[in-house]
Amino acid sequence: MAQTSDRSKYLISPALVIGLFIVAAYGYFALSSFFAKGPPGTQFAGGPTFDNYWRVLSFGSNQEVLLSTLWASFVISVITIGVAVPMAMVIVRAKREWIGNLIMLAIAVTFLSGGVTRAYSWLILLGNKGLINLGLTSLGIVDAPIRFLYNWSGVGISIAHYLLPFAVFTLIGAVRNLNPSVEEAARSLGASRTTTFWRITMPMLLPGLMVTLVLVYSIALASFLFPMLLGGGKVRMIANQIYDRMFVEYDIPYAAATAVVFLISAFVSIWLISFVAKKIEKAVS
């Protein structure tokens, strides 16, 4: 036993060195949030202060960006899961296997083609004269082009699209664990398909849905490129605010305080979602 433990020390130490390096970086950055902005080329100066936190928490624009990041991420995650559930069900349950394989292929290619590619594509697709608006107007669904860019709708669409592969991958496991005979039992006892879906399938799927929600929510919170590109400065999420404070205002302590407040609210909101999820699961079962 002592020998095993000795050996694992050597096996793990390179990774641990790297881990300690990044934890040191986090710690140092968090530390700088308690100081004032330093002269160019330095990280921070002066004595300890809570000034940056006061600025982050008291300015209306900061509160707005924080709250809209949390709320929008939640809404986008819920919508994404709504889109992902049918995909996961078809992948797992389709009688013809090629259908499921085809969807998996589409997900894999999209997933691997990267975020920048997709952000750019949505930028062109969602323009006033883009394919989406062209389709909507020529089909007579809308009279005038809808403005998707530089507001939450375009940013939300692109983030949902980015989250979708993660959601489907996670849900596949949950759907696979469902026992179809329970649903069949409900049907044979006279429940309609819709009733069976909402009263039997969904409650059984609930734990999986909640795990997926927490995962995609945490990815959505970190969105940076999509609001930057499709929000055009009008839609800003926390990550964009941190970036601007680093590279526009060169105020590292302010950026650090923003990041600390962001992380704390992210963890609290994730904890809250998990807490509510457990309550719901208990109530349902």
Binding site: T4, R7, S8, K9, L11, P14, A15, L16, I18, G19, L20, F21, I22, A25, Y26, F29, S32, Q43, V83, P86, M87, V90, A94, K95, I99, L102, I103, M104, L105, A106, A108, T110, F111, L112, S113, G115, V116, T117, Y120, S121, I124, L125, G127, K129, L131, H161, P165, F169, P180, E183, E184, R187, A222, F224, L225, L229, A239, I242, M246, A255
Partner: protein, 268 residues
């Protein structure tokens, strides 16, 4: 009889929704490929012909080719390193008990729960305080730090599915720990290694939130170059870059499918 009824009818609504979702998923990927062959600078429908101008533009651009060199160089350095460091680490984390294991695991995996932008600024902050100039070294270090947890997670998932008794049997038959590792463990880790390398490689090429902080003009990488180009120019050259990346990802998927079936290899 009843089962069939349940599946087929229930399937229609769900299948329709899944089809729409798949169209939504594929639309930007297919569209950007189409757009890269556009004869006009701006999007037009139906396309008025076919042009390779943007592809030529991309492959002749000093900005993009320099960025592609940096990106691939970085990905080719970071991917093997994340395996060489990640395989022993995940073996230790999965197979043995030692003091402080939980906290060590937390430390190593911490970039998984911290948003990329925060990891990026933190690294930039520490590196510049340490006097490390932002260059290829800082960029590779940053990407390694960020990608290692993903690699360890994929490898650990694979290791958890392996039966440790096979290793014990090898040891009992007289094989040393090194030989057991190379002859027994490593061959069984094939799918985890493949998944980890695909993920790290793609992440290294695509990551924006770390690299935007750790690059300068001489170490610009593809996503950062693309972002700057989109801001300054309004033409489909970035669509040509996207097409190249999509072709690469199709090749990767085909390769994974051939080696082991991608359903198995994409359990990340």
């Amino acid at each position: 009889m009843f089962r069939r009824d349940f599946e087929s009818k229930f399937g229609i609504a769900v299948t329709a929704l899944a089809t729409l979702a798949t169209i939504f998923l594929l639309l930007p990927v297919l569209f950007v490929v189409l757009h890269s062959f556009s004869p006009t600078r701006y999007f037009q429908w139906p396309p008025q012909g076919f042009s390779l101008e943007w592809h030529q533009n991309f492959y002749n651009s000093e900005l993009f080719m320099g960025a592609a060199r940096n990106s691939f160089l970085m990905a080719l350095i970071v991917t093997p390193l994340s395996l060489v460091i990640g395989i022993p680490a995940s073996y230790a984390l999965v197979r043995s008990q030692f003091r402080g294991k939980a906290i060590i695991q937390q430390i190593i995996l911490s970039p998984l729960i911290i948003p990329g932008v925060v990891t990026g600024v933190s690294l930039l902050s520490l590196l510049s305080t340490m006097g490390v100039r932002i260059g290829l070294f800082g960029l590779c270090l940053g990407m390694l730090v960020f990608a290692l947890p993903f690699s360890i997670r994929a490898l650990s998932a694979n290791l958890l599915g392996l039966d440790p008794r096979i290793e014990e049997a090898a040891r009992n038959l007289g094989a040393g720990p090194v030989r057991t590792f190379f002859a027994i463990v490593l061959p069984q880790l094939k799918s985890g290694i493949l998944a980890a390398s695909v993920f790290v490689f793609v992440e290294a090429l695509d990551n924006f939130s770390i690299s935007v902080f750790l690059t300068n003009d001489s170490t610009k990488v593809l996503p950062v170059a693309a972002y700057q180009y989109i801001k300054d120019f309004d033409d489909p050259t970035v669509a040509a870059m996207a097409t190249a990346l999509i072709v690469m990802s199709v090749i990767i998927v085909a390769f994974l499918e051939k080696v082991m079936g991608f359903q198995k290899s994409l359990r990340l």
